[in-house]
């Protein structure tokens, strides 16, 4: 059960961080007219196409004792970053970034520009327009972003293995735990954990689709999902 709790803690932290960071990033990507924007868009989408091992490998190098992140971490906290829970959080944030940012961008972009004009003419600055108009109309996107980053983090394997290793209670997440059990032919234990993961994932996704219907009916819009055409 340690592994499950660890996975949940990781997924919650990553979702929270991704929401806080994803909102401004997605706002900028949705509304900026900067010419070089496509570069940042590509960087954000990279984890979708990269093998987790590649991402994990470079994150590991960056966090290592000779990597820039590792050195900085050493300076502030007096110990290395690789194979810690915090390191795992950082790697997972990068890995799940597109799953949080893409639905937010899609949601923001689908808000009628005339509403933003109306808000400006009525005296509201950018921040107020964001809180009062853009965000409430993007709630489906926010829910999707949260759920996808949560679920994606919960199920990740490759990145965790590369960056976190396999330290019980620190970096041994559910998926790694299952892998371990299978390796040592403990199929019953593996099955138990796998079932729990399956149940959680199913429950979360059912909840998303239920909310989707509810909210969709209220504001006439649907959740963004990567597996459904917009």
């Amino acid at each position: 059960m340690d592994a499950l709790l660890l996975s949940l803690r990781l997924a919650l932290s990553v979702s929270a961080i991704l929401l806080a960071g994803g909102l401004p990033l997605a706002y900028w990507l949705a509304y900026s007219n900067w010419r070089g924007k496509f570069l940042l868009e590509a960087v954000v989408a990279l984890p979708l196409v990269l093998p987790p091992t590649v991402l994990g490998f470079y994150v590991l190098l960056a966090m290592g004792p000779r990597g820039p992140l590792g050195k900085l971490w050493q300076l502030f906290f007096g110990h290395g970053m690789a194979f810690t829970f915090e390191g795992l959080v950082l790697a997972s944030v990068l890995y799940s970034l597109p799953f949080a940012v893409q639905p937010l961008i899609a949601s923001f972009e689908s808000v009628d520009r005339k509403l933003l004009d109306a808000s400006a003419v009525l005296g509201a600055g950018r921040l107020r327009t964001f809180w009062r108009v853009i965000l409430p109309l993007s709630i489906p996107g926010v829910v999707t972003a949260l759920v996808l980053s949560f679920a994606h983090t919960l199920g990740e394997f490759g990145v965790v293995l590369m960056v976190g290793g396999n330290l019980e209670g620190v970096t041994r997440t559910v998926s790694i735990d299952i892998y371990d059990h299978v390796q040592s032919l403990q199929y019953a234990e593996a099955n138990r954990m796998a079932l729990v993961l399956l149940a959680i994932s199913f429950a979360v996704l059912s909840a998303v689709y239920a909310v989707n219907r509810q909210v969709g009916r209220q504001i006439g819009r649907r959740l963004w999902t990567p597996w459904a055409a917009n």
Binding site: K114, D117, A118, A120, V121, L122, G123, A124, G125, L137
Partner: protein
């Protein structure tokens, strides 16, 4: 009532705008226009794609002209030479979009209160209440835009834009898709609201009917330039064809036969169809016996409750009021004189003369208020 809003003559809007217009699918052209909008309704008229909405966007601060100057009274909002460009938030210009752009997730009341962010709660509530009543939508306060009708949405949009007591109102074809009566009722409420405030209202439309229904002043534009400016009649030209007269909003369009030509006086007499009623109209290309049409504006007809004497007006016709209908600051009166005339009066005049259905009246028409139109 707020003292700022009730100055009798609010500051005039002046805008000089130059802007390269690039639009996908149409050749680029230069928007180059200067407009003066005094208090009351001015219509910006032109075909779609003429640049009307862009002019409004520039005035509101949503688009930036390449060059020009935009000011309300002494207050400069944009001046390319002086490097002034006030953001839209600070311009105090109300703007009702063609799509209205009501916030779909807010109730009517929340929509209207949106522009009153800086006010204390009680004041905000009072202002919202006042404007909801002025536009007759106080019963809809808790409804969302999707739950009310098109005309009601338009009223809410007007209320939202006006509640913060703007210096100027911009309307971008806000009433398209409404039937004429609904349109007239909303415009009447707007006129009543503006009677005390007298702010400049710039109303964009591509519909000739709206030009006539609304306008004291019209600015016609095409392909980014001003084509003409003046009264609806001047802008749309004196009606030469019957079709034109209809679109140019002459409420009275009567058919008749020429019975007498008085070339020395420059007039001729026309007997109106199916009546003994004869009126004198300016001389036209016609001979006795020709069938002609005469167009008369409802606002050009005077009305008397006893037979008038000693008038210069050549046409005095007796009749009876058959219907009266009050629309805001206008009383639309139908008078039967053998043929039916429509006369526009002010509510005050109707009261003072104690006019009512059935009352005997005399219509007074100047010869030159009668416009001869060819078939």
């Amino acid at each position: 009532m707020d003292t700022v809003g009730s100055e009798l003559n609010a500051a005039m809007l002046t805008a000089r705008v130059k802007m390269e217009r690039l639009r996908a699918g149409s050749p680029p052209f230069l928007l180059d226009i200067a407009v003066k909008v005094p208090s009351g309704i001015t219509i910006l008229f032109g075909p779609s794609g003429a640049g009307k909405s862009t002019v409004l966007d520039c005035i509101a601060g949503l688009a930036r002209p390449d060059a020009g100057r935009i000011a309300v009274g002494e207050g400069v909002l944009f001046d390319s030479q002086a490097g002034v460009n006030c953001p839209p938030q600070a311009r105090r210009i109300a703007y009702v979009f063609q799509t209205l752009a009501l916030f779909p997730h807010m109730s009517a009341e929340e929509n209207v209160a949106y522009g009153l962010d800086g006010l204390p709660r009680e004041q905000r509530a009072a202002r919202v209440e006042e404007i909801l009543i002025a536009f007759r939508v106080e019963k809809l306060r808790t409804r969302r835009p999707a739950e009310i009708s098109g005309g009601e949405r338009q009223r809410i949009a007007l209320a939202r834009s006006l509640v913060a007591q703007p210096r100027v109102l911009l309307l971008d074809e806000p009433l398209t898709g409404l039937d004429a009566n609904l349109k007239a009722a909303i415009i009447d409420d707007l006129r009543v609201w503006n009677a005390a405030r007298r702010i400049p209202i710039l109303y964009v439309t591509h519909s000739r009917e709206e030009v006539d229904a609304l306008g004291e002043r019209v600015i016609a534009m095409d392909r980014g330039r001003m084509v003409s400016e003046g009264t609806p009649m001047e802008v749309l030209e004196a009606p030469r064809r019957k079709r034109l007269a209809q679109t140019a909003g002459f409420e009275n369009l009567l058919s008749g036969t020429v019975v007498d030509l008085r070339e020395a006086d420059g007039v001729m007499r026309v007997r109106l169809n199916e009546s003994v009623c004869e009126i004198e109209v300016p001389l036209g290309f016609a001979v006795v016996g020709d069938r002609v049409h005469v167009a008369i504006r409802a606002g050009d007809i005077l009305l008397a409750t006893s037979q008038p004497h000693g008038l210069s007006a050549r046409n005095v016709i007796e009749g009876r009021i058959v219907a009266m209908e009050t629309r805001g600051t206008l009383v639309r009166t139908r008078v039967n004189c053998g043929v039916e005339f429509i006369v526009h009066l002010t509510p005050g005049a109707a009261r003072t003369l104690e006019l009512a259905v059935g009352v005997r009246v005399w219509l007074v028409l100047k010869t030159h208020s009668c416009h001869l139109v060819e078939e």
